[in-house]
Symmetry: C2
Subunit: 252 residues, 2 copies
Amino acid sequence: MTGTLTIVGLGPGPEGWVTPAATEAVDHADMILGYAPYVNRLTPKAGQVFEATDNREELARAERALHLAGSGRRVALVSGGDPGVFAMAAAVYEAVEKNPASAEKIDIRVEPGVTAMLAAAARIGAPLGHDFCAISLSDNLKSWATIEKRLRLAAEADFVIALYNPASKARPQQIKQAFDLLAGVLPAETIVVFARAVGRADEEVDVTTLAHATEMPCDMRTLVMVGSRETRKVVAADGRAWVYTPRSERER
Amino acid sequence: MTGTLTIVGLGPGPEGWVTPAATEAVDHADMILGYAPYVNRLTPKAGQVFEATDNREELARAERALHLAGSGRRVALVSGGDPGVFAMAAAVYEAVEKNPASAEKIDIRVEPGVTAMLAAAARIGAPLGHDFCAISLSDNLKSWATIEKRLRLAAEADFVIALYNPASKARPQQIKQAFDLLAGVLPAETIVVFARAVGRADEEVDVTTLAHATEMPCDMRTLVMVGSRETRKVVAADGRAWVYTPRSERER
C-alpha cells in the first residue's frame, strides 16, 4: 500500500459526538477533503492541506480523493454524521467501480460516526426504539416514484420512518407531498418529530402530528421522524414530555 | 432536579468508537447500571458503584435506574451501540409511562452512540449507502407474524435490511425462516453480509448471496445485512472486494 484513504464520519456537529477513532484518522491525514461545512469544523494542523468543495460534487470529490491517495498521500474524506448513510462512502465505492485501477495500492477504510437520526432520536426520547427505516427524500439520484413507493410500503410495515434531506430550496414541496401520502396510510394522530440542527446552538426539536405536519418549517438541516402506530408521547408527572416507540407491540 | 439519569451508548466495542460525550457521562456518574457485558467494558473510578444485571431484565433495570436517580444519584445506564436502537432508552420511557411520578425531578438524557449496523457497514464498504431499514428478529416482544410482514414489505420496498438479534440459542431457526421468506421476494443473487463481533479481536465479516445465506453461522453477536436489488460487490484491480449500495438507482 502506498497511500491511505479514510472516509470519516464527524457526527452531527458537536465535538463530544466525534469518535476518538475519527479524530485520530483526521489527525493522521496530510490532506483533508470534503464538503465545506464539514471541513470547516476542523482546525488544520502543521503540514495539513484542506480542500473544501461544493455539495453537488460527491463523485468528483471521491475520484480526487482516490487520486491523491494513489499518489501516496494520507487522505481523510470527511462527512457529517456517518459516512455510510447518504454520504461519501458510497461515492468512493462508486468511483472504484467506475475505475477499479484507481483503488490500487490504497488502504481504504471507513470510520463510522453518529448519524443524524440517532442524535435527533436521543434529544426527544427513543422514537427509534423499535423497527425503523431511513429514506432520503432527495430525488437528485432516484425517481420520486421510487420514493413514494418506499414511503407507502414503510407506512404499511409500520416502521418508524426517518426522513433525511427532507427539503431544499430547490424542492420545498416534496416533504408536504410525502406527508400527504403518509396521511393516506397512517392515522392523523401519528407523531411526527422535526429535529433541526441537533447539537448546534440553534437546535430546535418540535413534535406534532401527521395532521399538522405540513404546517411545520423544514429545511436541509432538519431530520424528520414519522412515528409508527406504536410511537407515543410519554408525559412525566411534572409535565415534561418525550416521544418513544415501545419495544413491544400492543395486543390488537 | 435532584438526580440525573443518562442513558449512554458505548458503541460496538472498541474505545475508539466511544464518543467523548459518552465517556464524560460515564465519568460523571456515581452509579453505573447495565447488562453485564457492557458494564464490564468500563473501569470503575473512585466512588463509583457498578451494578450489572442480566439481559432479560430491561424494564426492571430501567425502573431501578429511575429510582436511584430519583433519590439524588447521578446514574449512567449503559447500552452497547446506540441506546435508542433496540436498547435501553425505550425501556426507560416505558418505565416512565408506567409510572409518570418516577421521572419527577430527574434530568433524563440520552447520549447517542455508533449503532452496530453503522460499524458493520463501515467494515465492508457502504452497504447502507441508500435507503435502508433495521428490524430486530427477536420475537420476545413482538409476534413472528409482524416480523414476517415487515420483512416482506421491506424487500418489496427494496430497502437494504439490517437484521439485529438475528439468532439466539433459544431461536436458531428464525434467521433461516427470514432468509427463506426474503428469497421469495428478492433475487437469489442478492448480497448478504454477516458481520460478527465488529471491532473485537474475533471480528469476522463474510459476504454471500441470499441463495447461500442459510448455510452461514449466525449468533447473537452477528449483524446481518441483506442488500437491495442495487447492492453490489465492487472489486479493485488487485482483487480486494467491498460491498456498496449506490446512491442512485439504475435505469430499469
